[in-house]
């Protein structure tokens, strides 16, 4: 039974977070950018659960739970906003969505 150092979990979390940041900056599609935000939230959740394991306390789990709830609410509202934007502008490309009002 070989164990894994805690820092490996944190580095995995950092890798996933960086990928999320990269996707958010590189992608031009509104929905893909939104998915990259979810990827970043997941990466942070992993590090919180890892710290919860380290300190042997439940608080990290509770916080992860709240992050999940907020992410679900955010997904519902965000996708509704995307629906409205697409209904009005007929495009998903963020480069063309460059004015708040028209």
């Amino acid at each position: 039974m070989t164990a894994v150092p805690l820092s490996w979990y944190l580095i995995l979390s950092a890798v996933l977070f960086s990928l999320g940041v990269a996707g958010f900056l590189f992608r031009r599609n509104l929905i893909t950018m939104f998915m990259c935000i979810e990827l970043m939230l997941n990466a942070v959740n992993l590090s919180m659960v890892a710290f919860s394991h380290k300190y042997e306390q439940i608080d990290g789990h509770i916080f992860t739970f709240f992050v999940m709830v907020v992410a679900a609410a955010e997904a519902a509202v965000g996708l509704a906003i995307i629906l409205t934007v697409v209904k009005n502008r007929k495009t998903l490309a963020v480069d063309e969505l460059n004015s708040m009002k028209y």
Partner: protein, 170 residues
């Protein structure tokens, strides 16, 4: 065994994460994101967070991603066109990302106060019983506030998606 499981699912998570970023079609990104979330659920199990692992599968991989795929299908999203980036972005994007990642990893390794190892089964406080106890005693107020948040989110989603178009009178 722990190392094997960690590396297998960490590799799946990173590969699917790269796939989320490089795929041009949103539906392929969404499927890759489900892969990331599934492998993260296994890593949560390794960390002794059974309830969080179950919630990850049910809420994230289940509900949230189904919502995403539903919207992608509804909007008939197609692949995004290539190119159109400025030359500094093309030149510096990937190197700067690697630098960011290297700095993060370096800080994590430096910080490491007492090198502690994570082995399966050394922390068993992540079951539904412990979560429920903490949630309904110590964290009761945040829990109630969360319910209000969800109510607001439901109302917001209904208002935004239901009546959003120009043709509706609102």
């Amino acid at each position: 065994m722990d190392t094997l499981l960690f590396f297998t699912f960490a590799a799946i998570a990173v590969l699917c994460g790269i796939s989320v970023v490089v795929q041009t079609h949103p539906i392929k990104s969404a499927i890759s994101l489900i892969g990331v979330m599934g492998s993260l659920a296994v890593l949560y199990l390794l960390l002794g967070a059974e309830f969080i692992a179950a919630t990850q599968v049910v809420v994230y991989a289940g509900a949230v991603m189904v919502l995403f795929i539903f919207v992608i299908m509804l909007l008939n999203a197609e692949s995004e066109p290539k190119g159109g980036r400025s030359w500094p972005a093309k030149l510096m994007g990937i190197p700067l990302l690697v630098i960011l990642l290297g700095l993060l990893s370096y800080v994590i390794q430096i910080w490491n106060p007492d090198p502690q190892e994570v082995s399966f089964g050394s922390f068993t406080g992540g079951g539904p019983r412990e979560i429920g106890e903490a949630l309904f005693t110590e964290y009761l107020l945040p829990f109630e506030v969360t319910s209000v948040l969800i109510l607001v989110a439901i109302l917001g989603a209904v208002v935004l998606a239901g009546g959003g178009g120009k043709e509706s009178e609102r």
